[in-house]
Structures are given as C-alpha cells and as structure tokens.
Amino acid sequence: MRFEVRRLRAGELDHELIWLAVTITSAVLLCAWLRVGLPLPQCIFHTLLGIPCVTCGSTHAALAFSHGDFSGAWRFNPLATLSYFAVAIYDVYALLVLVRRRPRFRLAISRHYLVPLISGAALLNWIYLLRHL
C-alpha cells in the first residue's frame, strides 16, 4: 500500500473534480427520480432466486442515509451505508482541496490487499443480508 500527498501532475486526471461532480449529480438525479415518483429498479437476482443480492437494500439505505437515519440505513445494507459514508467524506475532502487548491492524496493499494478486502466485505455483507432481509 502506497500513500502520498502531492500536486496534480500536468495532464493528470483531476479525480477529485470528476468524482465530486459524478456523485453530486447522481445524488441530485436520484432525488429527482424519487420525487417525481418514478419506479425503482427491481433486483433481478432477488426476483429470480428469491434471495437478496449483495446490493439489495442499497436504494432504501440511500433514502434513510439522506434523511440522517444512519442506523436505519445500516439495517438495509451495511456495505452500502459504509460506501455512502466514504463518498460523503470523499466529497468533503474533494471540495476542500478544489476550493483551497491544496495538494491531493493519492493511495495505491496492491491487488494482494484489494482482493481479500473487497471480497471479504462483500461476503460479510451478503451473509448479513441473507439473515436479515
């Protein structure tokens, strides 16, 4: 795992700007989608097999999260809730470094850490959903 704080290099993608824009636009569109009463996407996995998938409950967790009901969001989908916390923290950081023109954090994670981290988190989340949803 490698961690550094540095200025953007010439020609390097401005990830902070991109992901701040993407997450905020997604959140706004999701709110607008729900506000006008458009249908939520159905889980194909759940429909076909009758058991929740790893991301089941993510939309309800997002709704609860947006209303500040973090424990409710956790109950719907713990991994999604953690992701929303991570996105919220990242957006605050991105806004700060963009506005104040500060150096950027860059994290390089080796595949040897990434695989067990993601698959372990997904598996634990799925076990939770299978037991509670």
Binding site: G11, L13, H15, I18, W19, V22, T25, S26, L29, V36, L38, P39, P41, Q42, C43, I44, F45, H46, C53, V54, T55, C56, S58, R111, L114, V115, I118, S119, A122
Partner: protein, 295 residues
C-alpha cells in the same frame, strides 16, 4: 531532420529529433527496447532496430562445421516471426478535423463494432477525456433516443412491452420529455460509474496495467458504439447489451494488454456478484434499459 516519436511501456516519452534520440541512446536516456515511430513507418519498432540507430557490428565468423552431423542431414528452417507492435495512432474519432466530423464518427463506429481487436489496438490510452466522452454522449444519446422513439411508436400501435418497471415511463408524458433532455447526463454518469466499477474489477483480477483513463476510454468507445445498435427494431436493446459486453471485453484486453479471460471476468464480475452492478452497467447503455426490450 526526421522527428521520432518515442514510447516506453505504453507511455509516450515525446517527439525528438533523430540526433537527440541517438544521443539519448548513448547517455542512457533511451534504451534499445524503447519503441520508435516516424512518418512513413507502418508500425512502431524498437529503437535498436531502426536503421538510423543501428550500431554497426562486425560480421560474425562463419559457424564451425559440426562433424557429428552427417552432411546430408537437412537443418530445419524455423521461420522467425518478428513481433509487430501496432502504433497507437488513435481511432478515426481521435484524429478528426472539423470538416470530417461525421465521417470520423461513422468510421469509428464501424471499426469498433466490426474490428474491435484492431480498433482498441490503435486507440490512444491517454490524451484527455474530452474525445471519448463526446463520442459516448453523441452515440449513447442517439441510441437512447432511437430506442425511445421505437417505444413510442410501438405504444401508439398498442404493442407496448407493458407498463411495469422502466417500461412504465413511457406513459408519463412530461417526465419522458425530461428524461430525454437528461439522457446525455445519464450517459455520462453511466460511463463514469461503469468505468470505475469495471476498473476495480480489472484490478481485482490483476488485469489493470494502465490507469483508469484507459478503462474509461474503452467503455466510452465500446458502449457508445454498441448503443447505436438500438436502431435495430424489437431486439436492438438486447443486441446492444451483448455487443457492449463483447466489445468491452476485447477492448480491455487490447488496451490494458492483459489476458482476454481477465478482461471478460472484469466485465462480467459486477453482473455475477450483484445485480446492482448490472444496473450500473445498464445505465451506461441506458437506451436498452429504458426500452425494456430485455425484460
């Protein structure tokens, strides 16, 4: 004096005068295995193999006669294949000028859909997001719009695909118009989110040899081109989804210079693990999803 494009491990080092490259080879700035290309060359070649930089070597002495072999034994002739490295000169869309905008668009669509192997072998890995995103927005919006028009037409004939799920949008009038207006935004979000998920999956399977931008470029050109297949009546949405998966897999394998199986797994992993990934991927090919053709 000839200008030489020099690259190493897929990254462009710059364009240098012949003399500078020769000096760089002496000083160690460049190495013989760095790739060089100049006007008139069909492919990139290692600098050490370029005529201008080849170090003259004394002729090797003739091989000694092997007395253990009978004089009549024929020596097998093994053809030595010289590996050719295709120059990443860019897709037609990346080399367009203001007067051949539509030709470049059509050429790129045709190349990506009919010869994806070649298309992603010459696609530039880096160079900014403007070109690929513009391509994805144009093709993606056009595909979605065509898909929607088909849907309206079918509805008017009483042959709709039902009013459940996303298919139910088409009776909503004002909302449908709003969605049409926001199609480019949906396409952009789909490309960014889909690329991020795919890149993480590619990292998990050990196939991400180049940065996120390379993955985003592949999905922009791949999904954008596949999106236009929505023009096919009835089953266009389904064909577009399948084409996007195939072109995306080939594209990732060529652009990241990784095994094809890793690229295929990276593209399918979100769908295998969770339908949430499928929804995100579907967002990138939103026309097919909105048409509801694959329900």
């Amino acid at each position: 004096m000839a200008m030489i494009h020099v690259s190493r491990s897929g990254a462009t080092l710059g364009i240098f005068e012949e003399e500078k490259v020769r000096e760089g080879l002496r000083t160690g700035q460049f190495i013989g295995t760095d790739l060089g290309w100049t006007d008139g060359m069909p492919t990139w070649r290692p600098l050490s193999e370029l005529e201008s930089f080849r170090v003259p070597t004394p002729a090797p002495p003739p091989p000694q006669v092997d007395v253990s072999l009978p004089a009549t034994t024929p020596q097998p002739v093994v053809p030595v294949a010289t590996p050719t490295i295709t120059a990443r000169t860019g897709l037609p869309w990346e080399n367009r000028t203001s007067d051949n905008f539509f030709n470049a668009l059509i050429e790129t669509v045709m190349m990506v859909l009919s010869k994806p192997d070649h298309a992603f072998a010459i696609m530039k890995r880096e160079g900014g997001l403007g070109d690929p995103l513009l391509y994805a927005v144009i093709c993606g919006s056009a595909g979605s719009l065509i898909s929607l028009l088909y849907q309206f037409f079918m509805k008017s004939l009483g042959m709709g695909f039902g009013r459940t799920g996303l298919g139910g949008l088409f009776g909503l009038g004002f909302v449908s118009i709003l969605i049409i207006i926001f199609i480019p935004v949906f396409v952009l979000l789909g490309i960014f989110i889909g690329s991020a998920i795919t890149h993480v999956c590619l990292m998990i399977v050990g196939g991400a040899k180049y940065p996120f931008e390379t993955t985003l470029r592949v999905l922009s050109y791949g999904n954008g081109s596949a999106h236009l297949l929505n023009v096919i009546p009835f089953c266009g949405g389904l064909i577009a989804v399948v084409a996007a998966l195939i072109v995306g897999s080939i594209g990732l394998a060529r652009a990241h210079e990784t095994d094809t199986w890793r690229a295929v797994v990276a593209v399918l992993l979100p769908m295998i693990v969770c339908c949430g990934g499928a929804i995100f991927f579907g967002a990138a090919i939103i026309g097919g999803a909105m048409a509801g053709n694959w329900h």
